[in-house]
Subunit: 494 residues, 2 copies
């Protein structure tokens, strides 16, 4: 792409000024439409060093009301903290919310190509990164995002000229570092790596726009005109439906909820006490190892209302060092969460290496409550199985242990517990009208849960059923599974 790229002929000064003004006005006037249409706009700036990305971002944002945009500046070097999260984490954290712009002063490209140039990534690892990026960009588009990508292109000569100019002044000297010099010296090599990346990530709905960045005014004009055009197109599309991809992840065998036998899954109080004590001690020790081995752990709980999730979580948490774990209770999303990709509030709650996050309800709300209550479109939830598998696959590839529990009871048990809650003053806060309403939809939920378990029991993140008519049984089973999975991960990390 870069090799074929022909430098533009820059219009006459006066004409350019006129056209530039036009594009600026166009962007200004479209911002309210973006707000009304709730369109999130992610604008990515990548390119050669000293190509003027920052300066152009500075110009572009002048057309937009400060309430409607933010600039995300990505440090070239990942901080120590950021290294403790999956590759995409620090970028996903920054995605814009509906109706707003987010300008990225370099994004995931910069990190990947730099690592290739420093020979820190094998071809296989590079391909994995490219895959992760393509998946994320596709997911963003599928979920209504406009993603516009610019690559700022300057020649070796021009880059040298710019560095020389900066170096010649003691006030600007500091802005040129060794990596800049290295890039100019190895310009052709860089160009090759950049070009490969651009081709590898040039998808039809998130294409690259190459900006001839020699003339600053003209660069601004190009950026604005591509951006305005992309916004126009995106605004014309209301509620896009996209193909449902086939699940190509390796799957585990699953059973239907109706096939689970519950009555025989019980234990005596004595057994329970002894087991609980023993297992919690074991988990406590494992917690230490997980911390030292820097393994991140996700424990995800879903289940019927009153199935006993809370008590189960408590028994796990009791064994853990409070500094190393957190329980994330998931209710309906806050406005700022709802305004983003539905997985965003989970991406931002991920454990860092060595830590454990227990989710009390999860991203599976998408294919249960959001599906059944019509909070998302059919296309949205049908697509979500694969999107969730992709999400968990990213975590798994990073080394995260993922344990997913479905806490299962039967309808009668639920009724008994609901009634009990209602009749016990200190438990009344635990039961709401919504619980009763949900109960009426038991059969619909059961269908949804069966489909969820069938479609998201990947080999790397299968569902485990916790039979919880006898809560003691469920707690012991949960502890055993957590212990087993953590041990497995520790062994693999040896």
């Amino acid at each position: 792409m870069l090799n074929d790229f022909v430098k533009a002929e820059i219009p006459e000064e006066e004409e350019l000024r006129g056209r530039l003004k036009q594009e600026r006005d166009r962007l200004s006037s479209v911002q309210m439409k973006i707000k009304d249409a709730k369109l999130p706009v992610m604008v990515i700036f990548e390119g050669f060093n000293a190509a003027g990305k920052g300066a152009i971002i500075g110009k572009v944002i002048r057309c937009i009301d400060p309430r409607f945009f933010k600039v995300a500046t990505m440090d070239r070097q990942r901080s120590e903290e950021e290294k403790r999260y999956p590759f995409l984490y620090r970028y996903v954290k920054e995605i814009p919310e509906a109706g707003k712009f987010r300008f990225f002063d370099t994004c995931w490209m910069d990190e990947v190509v730099e690592q290739v140039l420093e020979e820190k990534l094998t071809e296989e690892e590079y391909q994995k990164r490219v895959h992760s990026i393509n998946v994320m960009e596709r997911q963003l588009c599928d979920n209504g995002y406009l993603v516009v990508k610019f690559f700022f292109h300057i020649s070796k000569k021009e880059q040298k000229k710019r560095f020389d100019k900066l170096l010649s002044d003691k006030d600007t000297k500091w802005r040129v570092d060794d990596k800049d010099i290295w890039q100019n010296k190895h310009y052709d090599k860089c160009m090759e790596v950049f070009d490969k990346y651009l081709s590898d990530t040039n998808q039809s709905r998130t294409p690259w726009y190459i900006i001839d960045a020699k003339d600053k005014k003209y660069a601004e004009f190009q950026v604005l005109s591509f951006l305005n055009q992309a916004i126009d197109v995106a605004l014309q599309n209301s509620s896009l439906n996209v193909p449902i991809l086939q699940n190509t992840f390796k799957m585990e065998k699953t059973i239907k909820l109706s096939e689970i036998s519950l009555e025989d899954k019980t234990m005596t109080d004595e057994e329970y006490e002894a087991e609980l004590d023993r297992l919690q001690k074991e988990l406590q020790e494992l917690n230490n190892k997980v911390y030292r081995k820097k393994i991140p752990v996700v424990i995800a709980y879903e289940g019927w209302d009153a199935a006993g999730k809370g008590g189960n979580i408590k028994r796990i948490a009791a064994a853990l060092d409070p500094r190393d774990y957190v329980v994330e209770p998931i209710a309906s999303p806050e406005p700022h969460e709802k305004a983003r990709h539905y997985l965003w509030r989970f991406w931002t709650r991920l454990p860092k290496t060595g830590h454990i996050t227990i989710f009390d309800r999860t991203w599976y709300g998408r294919v249960m409550v959001e599906r059944l209550e019509g909070f998302c479109s059919e296309n949205d939830w049908q697509r979500a199985y694969n999107e969730i598998n992709e999400f968990e696959s990213e975590l798994h590839d990073f080394g995260t242990v993922i344990i997913k529990f479905w806490v299962q009871i039967d309808k009668d048990t639920q009724l008994k517990r609901f009634t009990d809650r209602q009749n016990t003053p200190e438990k009344q806060w635990k039961i709401t009208d919504e619980d009763w309403r949900n109960r009426e939809k038991w059969d619909l939920y059961e269908t949804a849960v069966n489909e969820m378990i069938e479609k998201t029991s990947t080999s790397f993140a299968p569902w485990y059923i916790l039979e919880s008519v006898d809560k003691k049984y469920a707690r012991i089973k949960a502890l055993k599974i957590v212990i087993r999975e953590i041990k497995k991960a520790l062994k693999q990390s040896e």
Copy 2:
């Protein structure tokens, strides 16, 4: 993709029969919606030999009224005739029209992977093919097509079993050929090549669906359910707007129509006669060489009404052997042409090797009359510049000489010629009310033509201006350009 693919668990006989019936009914009942929505549905079947593609197509079409589908069976070997056209030609010819299904019993994949396995394609050539296919699939989607792709997967053992069964019966023996045996013997190698192709062409809007084809009933169920799902999604999207891609082709410098000087472009009758005679003789000889060297030539004419296209074309054609060339006058599309991708009627009119096609008006109607009369959406014509460049690039890569003429006159000259036509009984048929209406839109057309010339003057297919106030001058210039370009191509082919 194939390696990770886990064989499905086939439902119980009775359940499968029920679900199969459901999917069949669903397809049956959706066909009228497809017709009403004018959705063209292209369904591609690829996969291992003996995986049962043909049998399943046979089942699927039973659900559809014969008026609404056709099956395109692609011979594994290109015929001698087909070899004389660009790679995509024989497939594009078969694309469905709006509201109808077209089932491909193998498509472009089969040819490419076979050539890779036979080591007839270098990696670079393979990448070029993949690029052509991705571009075409993207163009089809962008222009409202639903493209559904199935890969039929069976194990080495299963394939062997099927071949053995066919071979054991003298009535079916003939159905197994050397290539089948070869494929089974080199199953792993094939799998690797197939897998690479599937990954390389697995685009978000034209994803692959891998069919576990061991059980025939279950294979049919999978095909139907993926197909029905894809149709549902496509029907929900009305008039999709897609991103306008940046032009990344090398471009020639161009000028605006208003900058063309016309008055000085004249010649005397004597000069003209002498030149015409000499040049036509030269072209005649070149025609022979082009034929022998098997070079295909496209000469495309656009220009103002009454600019003198017809007379100009005549002077070229007069020098050519009638067996080797054809003039294609392009009027508004017929219903069966309008029902397909707008480039289809040009794809199907392409010259074969050694032949010359002169287009009297062209695919550029998309960005002129269709743009100005609102026959297509803004998104459609804005996208068309790049689509046309991609189309011409395909022809160029195949070795086609592409010569594009814009026949230019000024507004006064047109008026004089219109009036002359009106006043001369034998010329009256050449002037219509539409011509007068178009004339009123001169300025709008001029803007569109300028944009067209600017955006489609690629290095491999630039526009040439024929100044035609003096028609003699324009004819001689056209002949000279045709001769020069053909000579260039002949030299390159040496």
